[in-house]
Amino acid sequence: MTNKELSVLAYELRKKTVDVIMGAGAGHIGGDMSVMDVLVMLYFKHMNISPENQDDPGRDRFVLSKGHSVESYYTVLSEKGFFDYETYKNTFSRYGSEFIGHPHNTLPGVEMNSGSLGHGLPVSIGMALAGKMDQASYRVYTVMGDGELAEGSVWEGAMAAGHYKLDNLCAVVDRNGLQISGSTEDVMSHEPLAERFAAFGWHVIECDGNDMDSLDAAFSEAKCTKGQPSVVIAHTVKGRGSAVMENKAPWHHKVPTAEEYARIEADLETRKEELAHA
């Protein structure tokens, strides 16, 4: 698929994700929307992961550290064919469902359970170290939130990945600038973020995390980087896709009203059309 096709797909999947949240009456919509382009770029272009190779030890590994973005993640996994979208949509968060509100690895395609922030990077380091031990060629990807970076375990991991020069590891920060209580810089500041990762021995790549060409270039650069781990600081907009929720902290986990839903759907469709005809 071309990057243009991927960006159209990302909007299609945003709509499907919003539908899941509407059906369940629950979800973390803001982070779902900001991270969607990252997930689509990884799953449809850069990562070697599919239902066909899900048991192959040589497959790439992916850990969604910001597990609350499970709705967009599952929509992408269903689009990849790991499970049926309708089943997911109709049972997500409902009584007795396998599709609980955070990633769960009894489902195909999910490597690790998450939901408690600050676990994905250290777990990914373990996967990357195992790959080095086995001289395997797979790569390991993890996606963190920017608020998540306040967890000490992230920086213990940052230190270890730098120490072990894990060039088979690529961490992504969904740098949307918001967390539950407001702006990340007000709650607990992270800047200068790039310099912080660099000081821990990482190759730092900054990109527009809602632009497919920019993301494509970032992940290509990470792949070519030898001798150190790469972090892609993906500058994104929380709630990306509709003015109803863009850059608004309460949309971390707000569920749209019927009226908001109509406007969000219309906005997402408009953006999709614009991208398709750009």
């Binding site: 469902s97 509100g101 955070h102 306040a150 967890e151 967390q179 209580s181 709650v187 607990m188």
Partner: protein, 322 residues
């Protein structure tokens, strides 16, 4: 012993966390050493009003529960009265060592407030459930553990905690809970269970804490209609555990039923069983969450699945007489 309260179905319904915020705001106005800390959790803790009203007495640490607890300990050591709020799941597991070393072992006056406790977060999965917190914190020497049942008891508990100098863990749920007590009628003695019964010589005892107290009372009322008079022990003070309140009932009761929003090991049921086995062996039936990831659902659906409701408790009490 107090009479079983009338359960007013049109009564107030507010989450206990809100009662904590109200009580702390009243205290903070007079005492600038009362300090609240949050870890990107002020909304879910109902603490936004406190943060807005007392910015000089509020500290935001970001998503960093270990830091939250250790910073609180440092504040306490320098004369502050810190209340550290975080979802019970993260507070009791992520920052467990900080609680053990910096609060309990170093003997600092930190009050840990575990919000959205138990299975409040329902469908969010095990990462968000705190079914281990009673066991974990009770096992720490010098740590106290409280699970208040309604807003009136919560307020009284927090007022009592404001006057002492030791660390404690308080777990409250996310959901609004219907009142059990009232402003006029809320029997409360610090570290003594509230024993509720309509007769002097109960036939059975139901020991409950937190959100399980209300269904326990409902069950007791239903049982009374069929001739079984059960005492309800509201063991809000899980630690220090009120052994005396349990043993006092032993002479007349056929057995005990315990009910808790917790794993089956190391919680209220274990403690009651231990006390009863040691002093007056009798049957103890433990109702708790399973030793497994709980079913996906709202907390009510989860409770109903595992019999943690009035009917489940009623049947368990009846089974003592089978």
């Amino acid at each position: 012993m107090h009479k079983l309260p009338e359960l007013n179905t049109v009564g107030n319904k507010i989450p206990n966390r809100q009662a904590i915020c109200d009580t702390l705001m009243a205290a903070a106005a007079d005492d600038r050493n009362v300090v609240a800390l949050c870890s990107d959790s002020r909304g879910s803790a109902s603490m936004t009003p406190f943060f807005n009203a007392f910015p000089q007495q509020s500290i935001e640490v970001g998503i960093a529960e270990q830091n939250l607890v250790s910073i609180s300990a440092g504040l306490a050591k320098c004369g502050k009265k810190p209340y550290a709020f975080s979802p019970a799941c993260f507070l009791s597991t992520r920052s467990y060592e900080q609680a053990k070393i910096d609060c309990a072992y170093s003997d600092t006056n930190v009050k840990l407030i575990g919000i959205s406790g138990g299975v409040s977060y329902g469908a969010l999965g095990m990462s968000h459930h705190s079914a281990q917190d009673i066991a974990a914190f009770s096992a720490i020497p010098n740590m106290r553990v409280y699970l208040p049942s309604d807003q009136h008891q919560t307020a009284k508990l927090i007022r009592a905690l404001l006057t002492d100098q030791k660390c404690a863990y308080v777990r409250v749920g996310r959901n609004p809970v219907e009142d059990i007590y009232s402003a006029e009628n809320c029997p409360f003695e610090m570290d003594k269970a509230t024993v509720l019964c309509d007769t002097e010589n109960p036939d059975a005892a139901i020991v409950a804490c937190g959100e399980m107290v209300r269904p326990a009372i409902e069950a007791a009322k239903a049982l009374a209609a069929s001739g079984i008079h059960a005492a309800v022990v509201d063991m809000y003070c899980v630690k220090p555990f009120d052994t005396e309140a349990i043993l006092k009932l032993a002479p007349t009761v056929k057995g005990y039923v315990t009910v808790e929003e917790h794993a089956p090991f190391g919680g209220l049921g274990s403690m009651v069983s231990q006390a009863v086995a040691a002093a007056c062996p009798k049957r103890v039936v433990n109702l708790a969450l399973p030793d497994a990831p709980v079913i996906t659902g709202t907390s009510k659906e989860v409770f109903d699945t595992y019999g943690l409701n009035a009917e489940g408790i009623r049947q368990a009490v009846r089974s003592l007489f089978a």
